[in-house]
Symmetry: C2
Subunit: 285 residues, 2 copies
């Protein structure tokens, strides 16, 4: 089955929430796929995504949903991805490509790379896009515009597959980067999982009587703590070791700042805040 670089005949999306729904909307709006089949367990949620124009058809039967798909994107929660990719591999056409959008990669890639029985390929992926809001009702065709998508191929991955997947994400607006699953998880522990833990701890230590005296600073800093607890339990658990390392790195610096305060060392405090500002300014708003 030849893969076309920029347009696809049939793409299947397994798990149609914010990410899956947004992929569907982007594909449909840019006319990149003739058929976008949504596969899920909840017909009401599938109906929402179809009504919004993200899908051309829906089914609760995986074998029907992926039967004609040259590409299947597995968008289910992290803890289910390995089983779902295996299930897709058992029923999709020979030569088909499977990818995922899981926030952690090492466990998933280790379990799947070179371990699928049939003539199908899996290449891991992770779009760094999302929101504390979830569900297909929140999906947006421009969710991936200018966002980074990390692909985590291995030496077993076919170059053509990686290129096809890279074109897929580029076509819906993303900037594609390629790195090992290990490197991905190490960096994301610091840039994504650590902030989530901190936001949640900050949110949890504020008492009800203190909440009225929060302002935009607290609101910004804790926003992601509104994310789905079940989803984040899975993400943090599946990258446990590296998250603990990131926490240690954070705690060491926090201890130093606390000591600056206790020592009334205003000069050290100012140096620290200036360096933090330089890092933050490098990103832009």
């Amino acid at each position: 089955m030849p893969r076309r670089r920029t347009t696809w005949d049939t793409v299947a999306i397994v798990g149609v929430g914010l990410i899956g729904g947004s992929i569907g909307l982007a594909l449909r709006e840019r006319r990149l796929a003739k058929h976008v089949v949504g596969v899920g367990r909840n017909t009401a949620r599938l109906a929402v995504a179809k009504r919004r124009g993200a899908l051309t058809s829906t089914t609760t039967q995986l074998s029907r949903g992926v039967a004609d798909a040259q590409l299947t994107v597995v968008c289910t929660p992290v803890a289910r991805i390995v089983a779902d990719v295996r299930a897709v591999a058992d029923v999709c056409p020979a030569g088909a490509l499977i990818t995922d959008v899981g926030s952690t990669k090492q466990e998933i890639v280790a379990a799947l790379d070179g371990r699928l029985d049939r003539e199908v390929q899996f290449v891991g992926g992770h779009p760094l896009a999302g929101s504390e809001k979830t569900g297909a009702a929140q999906a947006r065709a421009d969710l991936f515009d200018g966002r980074v998508v990390v692909l985590t191929p291995t030496r077993r991955s076919g170059r053509e597959d990686v290129e096809a997947l890279s074109s897929f994400w580029s076509a819906i607006g993303a900037q594609v980067r390629t790195m090992s699953a290990d490197a991905h998880d190490r960096v994301l522990a610091v840039t994504s999982h650590l902030p989530h833990v901190l936001a949640a701890v900050l949110s949890s230590v504020v008492r009800c009587d203190e909440l009225p005296l929060t302002a935009t600073g607290w609101a910004d800093t804790t926003r992601i703590a509104a994310g789905d607890p079940e989803m984040w339990t899975q993400i943090l658990s599946s990258n446990r070791g590296r998250v603990v390392q990131a926490l240690a790195r954070f705690q060491e610096r926090l201890d130093a700042v606390r000591k600056n305060l206790e020592d009334e060392d205003a000069a050290a405090l100012a140096r620290f805040l200036s360096q933090a500002k330089r890092n933050r300014d490098a990103l832009g708003s």
Copy 2:
């Protein structure tokens, strides 16, 4: 000099940055003061605020600036407020009211309450509004809309003065709360100063090569780290003891979460994330 509840003849603003400029814009736009005099050391910055319509006149001479002011709002950095209020008290009209907008209150109120020589009154204040962006060019007439302003009167404060100040802030859109300077600083250590330290530490631990793999979560969580380092050094220093206590409260909870991760206790992790989400959801976006 009688104080009118809703409109003022002359209000002086000492230090015309984001907050001072926004007060001026709000007063002028709502026609709450005939004259709004800006006092500062930098004529170029004063000119920006005047050009934007926040001020009716400007001066670098404090004695000229506050000569006719029934109300003077001191909007200088925290470390300068005590000296600036004393200087205003020496030259403003008898019977005049002075307030400030400093982010910490205990040190300032302790230094000024009942300690001004002449027949002028000081009541501390703190609008919980602001931004990592600073300067009069960023000022907005609606900066205080729906924001909380805390007033910190003492038993020495005149009821009429507190009411006048309360009307002043209400008239420009704020919700006024009254509490002791001590209570203010204890709560703000948790809701404002702690988030600032965490955002700055998070920003400072991310390395350059990791920065491209940050997404909206990191951006939100670190946004306030772009704030003015000098200003924040002063705020943190002047509330040192309570910030250290808030850090201890945070670190204790963070240690517990880290232990949940190390122990692979997914159930405890999920409970913690759910509680954090409930707290965050209570605030709204």
